[in-house]
């Protein structure tokens, strides 16, 4: 009955989170549905002129991705906190840094990755030029991972609070802004035919920094929340 290695344990957590998500498909569907509905709001608010929509499309798509990520990140640790699993995770002899990464990876797989995969559909609805779709997907793939990492910081800090929902947006949205700037810039660059590579590289750099540092903040936040 030896303890599993850190990597095996991470995979176990990842599997656990994914099984939990798959057994409640509506949780996976909600962010996508949200994405679709907000996309439908913009033509209603801005007018249906295809040119106008196309010029706003990079920003619109990125803001919706950001919001749907924000709305789901609140729940990452919530149920584990409520039923006591989080206590057990913190007492585990396994490195918390890696365990936290497993949670984030699961969150990204069921929100960011899926959003990136369905984004071409919505991009076409908003008249985004087909040439920009590749960089839209790439920027969403990289960017939503950063968003998941940052969002989990907010989730970890507010998981012990009864009214965390609104607070988490106040804490996390300012941190999202650089990702939004470079993510939408990558798409815009592709729209006008400029290389999107530099922006994607910047997003990648942010992702590296976030992977290195965010789990530390999340681990500290979880320990504080469990103790409060």
């Amino acid at each position: 009955m030896s303890a599993p290695g850190p990597l095996a344990f991470c995979l176990r957590l990842l599997r656990r989170q994914l099984i939990l998500a798959v057994r409640r498909p509506i949780e996976i569907g909600n962010p996508l549905l949200f994405f679709a509905m907000v996309v439908a709001l913009f033509p209603l608010g801005l007018g249906p002129a295809p040119d106008q929509l196309a010029s706003f499309a990079p920003g619109i798509l990125w803001i919706i991705a950001l919001l749907s990520n924000l709305l789901t990140s609140d729940a990452v640790f919530r149920s584990d906190f409520d039923d006591g699993s989080l206590e057990q995770l913190l007492l585990s002899p396994q490195p918390l840094y890696l365990s936290v990464l497993a949670y984030i990876a699961a969150h990204w797989l069921i929100t960011g990755l899926l959003l990136a995969l369905v984004s071409p559909l919505f991009a076409l609805m908003l008249n985004l030029p087909a040439g920009a779709i590749g960089s839209l997907m790439a920027s969403l793939l990289l960017g939503t991972a950063v968003l998941s990492l940052l969002g989990c910081i907010g989730a970890a800090l507010t998981v012990g609070l009864k009214r965390g929902g609104m607070l988490i947006s106040l804490l996390i949205l300012p941190l999202y802004m650089p990702v939004l700037i470079f993510g939408s810039a990558a798409v815009k660059a592709a729209v006008i035919g400029a290389p999107a590579g530099p922006y994607l590289a910047l997003l990648g750099a942010m992702l590296c920094l976030a992977i290195a540092l965010a789990p530390l903040a999340i681990a500290a936040g979880l320990r504080i929340s469990i103790d409060a």
Partner: protein, 202 residues
């Protein structure tokens, strides 16, 4: 025996909550073979003490807690996920203390009276059965030190007797138990009582 390193040593532990002193200068050692029962009325700080011992509470108290052995803590909440079956709950448990095969999980679940429930979604089980899923971890555990906060809650009489037998087996095999409970333990073993106000009672 007393010269050996204690599994858990507590030195002059004091805790204040809301201007009220819950305990002060609490010192004791838990060695292999010890079975401790923490005594105190509701609100005396038993759960606070258990959380400090486990390492979940890390500030707000003064004093030292030395943990020299892997521990297993069972708190008020069962940590059982309704969407997972009892088998999955144990196999995918977040505590990361062991990797269990079906050959290990099935007997453990059978011992806590969940034979035949292995693959039922846990949300179909009762609160007592949730507790039992959690207690099955005791049969799987190889941590020498068990910290059990009210393990008898929502467990029926037969279950309590079985659990008591398990605790005795554990301490006889060189483990140690610190537990809180409102009912007296019915065991043929020396139970040490720990009062939050007066320390270890002999």
């Amino acid at each position: 025996m007393s010269n050996a390193t204690p599994l858990l040593a507590v030195e002059s532990l004091s805790l204040e909550r809301g201007g009220r002193e819950l305990f002060q200068g609490l010192s004791f050692e838990v060695h292999a073979g010890h079975l401790f029962q923490v005594e105190g009325v509701n609100g005396a700080g038993k759960t606070s003490l258990m959380r400090i011992l486990a390492g979940l509470s890390r500030y707000g108290y003064s004093g030292e807690v030395l943990r020299n052995a892997p521990l297993l803590y069972l708190g008020h909440q069962s940590g059982v996920k309704g969407l997972l079956s009892p088998r999955e709950n144990l196999a995918l448990h977040v505590s990361g203390q062991g990797s269990y095969t079906d050959a290990q999980i099935e007997p453990a679940l059978a011992k806590v009276g969940l034979y035949g429930y292995e693959d039922v979604p846990s949300h179909a089980l009762s609160a007592g059965q949730h507790r039992r899923v959690n207690l099955a971890r005791l049969y799987l555990s190889d941590s020498p030190l068990w910290l059990l906060d009210e393990p008898f809650t929502a467990i029926d009489k037969a279950g309590v007797a079985q659990l008591e037998a398990l605790l005795v087996t554990h301490v006889e095999a060189g483990g140690a138990v610190v537990m809180t409970s409102h009912q007296a333990l019915q065991v043929r073993y020396e139970v040490r009582f720990l009062s939050l106000l007066e320390g270890v009672l002999l």
